[in-house]
Symmetry: C2
Subunit: 137 residues, 2 copies
């Protein structure tokens, strides 16, 4: 993969960070930012993954959702192996810029289990038991 610009400006403090019109991502101690992927059409939340600076830059630049695989320790262009790509419609950042929200057109299931979304189980009122949602029963 080609190298992407990753020299982001540093975060500002307090409300300046909330109101700036510059992308100043706040990466955690591991150099990562949380990324939520949401289906652009249905609004379904598909998955939560992580990006380093290069993954974030690549996602915006290529329009293909690209994450950092914490388990494999490498960039992960979603769908390169599975074919289940995410075409990025829009990338948003939250108030303090430590999370991003991708609105995507998802091909196939977003989840490695084959399901549309990774969030296919609902926590029961007992707080301990899980049940499959209506799409997956």
């Amino acid at each position: 993969m080609e190298a992407y610009m990753t020299d982001y400006s540093p975060p500002l403090s307090g409300s300046a960070q909330d109101e700036t019109r510059e992308l100043r991502p706040k990466f955690n101690a591991d150099g990562l930012i949380a990324a939520i992927a949401q289906d652009a059409t249905s609004g379904e939340v598909l998955m939560l993954a992580w990006m380093n600076a290069e993954a974030l830059a690549a996602t915006v630049s290529t329009g293909r959702a690209t994450y950092w695989s914490r388990s494999r320790g490498e960039l992960w262009v979603k769908g390169d192996t599975s074919g289940h790509i995410q075409e990025v419609v829009e990338v948003r950042v939250d108030c303090d810029q430590d999370a991003v929200l991708l609105r995507v057109n998802q091909t196939g299931g977003a989840c490695h289990t084959g399901r549309d979304s990774c969030f296919y189980r609902v926590i029961a009122p007992d707080g301990q038991t899980l049940s499959l949602d209506a799409k997956n029963t």
Copy 2:
């Protein structure tokens, strides 16, 4: 706040974790799990915050979204100060159980800036500039 049950069973390995019907949250090194809040009616993604075991148990038990404030180092019942409470309709967990998704009825703005959602800025194609979304211009 009363004490909540926090003796969750430990995560399983591989696909067993994906398919178990037991809640076995995978907390990170700081004892936290990522929590996405989504408006139950509109599907709008409102915010990303963090929960420790007690916050997760309290959220399910009370039906009020409860997070762990990393900046203040304390449990944070959303809306206790601002009045902008989140009534929890459903809590989901993802495949490897290191993230939860709350579907909520949100009173007032979810964001501390007063906006409905924390994700009010869109990253421009240049990858560096932010613009306010249509609701906030």
